[in-house]
């Protein structure tokens, strides 16, 4: 059992949720409540990671993270280390790969709020930020919760993108799913099996938690 890999995986999962959910709230809310030019293209871009082979996504991210790219250069100037094959790089890559899992459920959650309810909130004198915090977020809560769980679970299971962008550095970029592959390559079936079971348990726990929390929210919406 590779405890460090489990640690990297969990940190990556929590980190991606922390980075992605606020961004998803903003983007999902914008997509759900506004009409603008290029909205269709933006929605397609958000969905791209769903259909693109992870290796292709990983390839482009690696190019974008490289020392010769503006992003890679800027990161190196500030942090003093390369973005590629580092934990921050992994976090960013994982956020991009999980983008649709965060944005889409949140967008659907906001879209499910009747237009009149939003309008009523405005007519109650609530400024936009308060409508968002008091009315829209509580009503879109099931969608937001789904986004949190899917983002976390998808990050734990991500393999292709992580292998491309992060490599396999113990304690830094070696996640549990990479470690399982690693163990299998080394004919350590028992180690791989144990870690696979841990991932399965985490996934089950996350989904159970969603169901329970979703049910607690249910009657409040009555």
């Amino acid at each position: 059992m590779d405890w460090r890999a489990l640690g990297v995986s969990l940190w990556l999962g929590f980190g991606t949720v922390l980075v992605l959910v606020p961004f998803g709230l903003w983007l999902g809310h914008t997509l759900a409540s506004r009409q603008f030019r290029g909205k269709g293209l933006l929605e397609a871009l958000v969905a791209v990671p769903l259909v693109l082979p992870p290796t292709v996504l990983g390839f482009y991210l690696l190019v974008a993270f490289g020392a010769r790219s503006p992003l890679g250069e800027a990161f190196e100037a500030i942090a003093g280390q390369a973005l590629a094959f580092s934990f921050p790089g992994l976090l960013l890559a994982s956020a991009v790969a999980s983008l649709p899992f965060a944005v889409q459920p949140i967008q659907r959650g906001f879209e499910a709020i009747p237009v009149e309810v939003r309008e009523a909130a405005a007519c109650c004198g609530m400024p936009p930020w308060r409508r968002f915090a008091r009315i829209e977020v509580p009503l879109a809560w099931p969608g937001i919760l789904t986004a949190v769980v899917l983002t976390f679970a998808h990050t734990l299971g991500e393999f292709g993108v992580i292998l491309m962008v992060g490599g396999n550095i113990p304690g830094e970029t070696r996640t549990l799913s990479i470690a399982i592959y690693d163990r299998m390559q080394a004919f350590d079936d028992r180690g791989a099996g144990l870690m696979a079971a841990v991932l399965l348990a985490v996934a089950l726990l996350a989904l159970t938690l969603t169901t329970v929390l979703g049910r607690r929210v249910g009657p409040r919406r009555g």
């Binding site: 309810v117 109650c124 400024p127 009555g222």
Partner: protein, 370 residues
């Protein structure tokens, strides 16, 4: 007090054709009446700032809320509007009190809960403040929506088909409550409806919309007795509507005497206390015309008037005779034959005979029907 009035002008060709201009003063109830798709709700949405047509101006309470020519557009949350939506649009995750508190953002935090309870008491929902909309009945939801609309101390109250989703008994009680509340508030009240009963019970002024155009507007009493508004007539039946005061109640005979600008009428005694204001509607087909005052009839109501217009209906072979009775206009629907037999022409003095039971008497302002 003209500056506290609501004034709206809106014009555009598409996507929703509109051509309206109206004013509603404090204490007045303007009913916007018309078939569905006539732009009634759009008019309300323009006032609230939820819709902005190509050319429009909205003034309320001395402020300019919208002026497309000057590029002024005040956001909905900055307009002091109380809006009761058709489906109430309550916040499902908040309690009744929570819904009302949501609209109390302009008051100090410590006052909000007490004020919410006060408003819920005003709409007779004191025992329901901790319930969520999901467990409230239709009438109760409507009341929460009303309390929420009143919560922000609005400069204008807008009601979009407020009684569409409640049954007849609840509807009547709510109409009375709104009528009482509007006298307390003294702000303009705009009501969108397709039910003429709402108009008769609540409205002081009427705006009739057809395809976004105002086809008629003015005080309710004038409009409802105009025979040329075919559409309005189809909706309500031809008749006259006017204000009267109860001057005597004879409970032993079950009769009440009503004074109006043109004489007195006797109606069945369900009208309440002496001095109370009522609205009287006389359906055109219930009026009998005579050239001489009749004798030996079981009639209480014989009004004297002068013919001001005679209008023939091609389709039905009927005629509508307009009589000036004091300050009111009385409409009588008679056959073409009767017109020639009695020799009815403009200027002829006539007697109008009306059975007491044909009078529709509706209380206004705190009146009660038993």
């Amino acid at each position: 007090m003209a500056d506290r009035a609501l004034t709206v002008t809106a014009r555009q060709a598409a996507p929703i054709p509109l051509d309206v201009q109206f004013t509603c003063k404090p204490g007045e109830v303007l009913a916007i009446f018309g078939p569905s798709g006539s732009g009634k709700t759009t008019a309300l949405r323009i006032i609230a700032g939820l819709y902005s047509p190509a050319h429009a101006r909205v003034f309320c309470d001395g402020e300019t809320w919208l002026d497309t020519s000057a590029g002024i557009m005040v956001a909905p949350h900055r307009r002091r509007v109380g809006f009761v939506f058709q489906d109430y649009a309550l916040f499902p995750h908040l309690t009744a009190a929570g819904n009302v508190i949501a609209a109390l953002g302009h008051r100090p935090r410590r006052e909000r809960r007490a004020r919410a309870h006060e408003l819920l008491a005003l709409v007779h929902l004191s025992d329901r403040h901790d319930r969520r909309p999901g467990v409230l009945s239709g009438g109760e939801r409507q009341r929460v929506a009303l309390a929420r609309a009143l919560a922000r101390d609005p400069a204008v109250l807008l009601l979009d088909e407020p009684f569409a989703a409640v049954d007849r008994v609840v509807r009547r009680r709510l109409q009375e409550e709104i009528d009482e509340i509007r006298h307390v508030l003294d702000i303009p009240l705009v009501l969108v409806t397709h039910d003429f009963e709402d108009v008769v019970r609540l409205a002081t002024h009427l705006l009739v919309l057809e395809h976004g155009r105002a086809v008629a507007q003015g005080p309710v009493e004038n409009l409802t007795s105009r025979p040329d508004l075919a559409w309005l007539r189809d909706a309500i039946g031809l008749g006259s509507l006017f204000q009267a005061t109860v001057i005597r109640v004879d409970s032993s005979r079950g009769l009440a005497e009503l004074a109006f600008d043109g004489g007195t009428l006797v109606a069945p005694g369900h009208a309440c206390g002496v001095g109370s204001r009522v609205r009287v509607r006389i359906p055109g087909r219930e009026v009998i015309l005579a050239t001489t005052a009749p004798a030996g009839l079981s009639l209480h109501n014989v009004l004297q008037g002068t013919v001001t217009a005679v209008q023939f209906e091609e389709a039905t072979d009927r005629a509508i005779v307009q009589l000036a009775v004091g300050g009111i206009r009385l409409l009588a629907e008679v056959t073409r034959d009767a017109v020639s037999q009695l020799g009815i022409v403009v200027g002829l003095p006539l007697h109008a005979l009306i059975k007491s039971v044909s009078l529709e008497v509706l209380p206004t302002r705190g009146g009660h029907v038993t």
